[in-house]
Symmetry: C2
DNA sequence: TATTGTTATACTCTATAACTATA
DNA sequence: TATAGTTATAGAGTATAACAATA
């Protein structure tokens, strides 16, 4: 525990409340930044009747035509049971289709419909614009730096988990 | 939509599934990095019978003795109704106490017990060690940079919301 | 036996509204 | 009337286990 402890402040009534202890963790700062990034993206996406999660699934399906639900789960690091619901939703919206695979009748080949591809185009445009606005305080170099640092954290975490397992 | 579209891949069967479309968003990369940071912190904290959220509340309460539940909510950017449950949990564990305030009998003054302060010391130590390990791939300069960029994003988002409201 | 998709359950976090007791 | 705390409810995300169909 740091020795910057305040004494027993019996009258903290309306003193400003600080979070310096928590600011020592990068994770805390990332959570606080991410909350804003997420709600910013959510706002952009819900204009089109989707949420961040369903939009992400649509991104992956458009990019990887004929992938299976298991592959979708892996790509998004979600459970297969969760993928079922996301695919259900996108299918009901007419944005993707589930297609039986003759070679392996257990799995589906997921494909976006023309409507799905068209909608994704609009979503992408809106998302990029929204993120550019939100991150307008960062230079291009800073954004590249940030992306690189985040990737490095993710890669190292994955490697560490593999080594541990 | 980028023109890097793949053709109709009728046999995507076991091709690697990519997420390049999503990697264009800093938010996506941040989410992926944060998932690991969060579970790393969770693992450190649950050794002591807490979760990330309750641990955060304990941090704030130890740092700001006699704060109210409303102040706690503000500090953590959570709803007051959520703070009730976190405080309930910490109180049941004997880590903090709710104390009536004579000047305003509506509110409580939250204070950590000696047990709460002692436990937080151990939690902090473990959290710092865990985060250092997870972020061992980053130099000290990179960590400082990352923290600064995250703060900048948060501050700008808050300012933008204020300006918009 | 193992895998794909599915259903069901439970837990956490979030968001909202309504209520009480105080002010 | 406004605020502090509380209760209740609903939605979203996550984690887990079990099951049917297929491999």
């Amino acid at each position: 525990m740091p020795d910057s402890f305040k004494g027993d402040n019996t009258d903290a009534g309306d003193l400003p409340v600080t979070d310096a202890f928590l600011r020592r963790y990068i994770g805390y700062r990332m959570k606080r930044a991410y909350v804003h990034i997420h709600s910013n993206a959510q706002a952009a996406i819900e204009t089109f009747g989707l949420r961040v999660t369903t939009s992400s699934a649509l991104h992956i399906i458009v990019e990887n035509p004929n992938l299976s639900q298991s592959q979708l789960s892996l790509a998004l690091s979600i459970e297969r049971s969760r993928a079922v619901l996301l695919v259900d939703e996108l299918e009901k919206l007419g944005l993707i289709t589930r297609n039986r695979v003759p070679q392996d009748r257990r799995s589906y080949a997921l494909r976006a419909t023309p409507a799905g591809e068209a909608l994704l185009e609009k979503v992408v445009e809106s998302l990029i614009r929204h993120e550019e606005t939100l991150l307008a305080g960062l230079t291009a170099a800073e954004k590249t730096q940030l992306a690189g640092l985040l990737d490095k954290i993710e890669r190292r975490a994955i490697d560490a988990r593999k080594a541990g397992a």
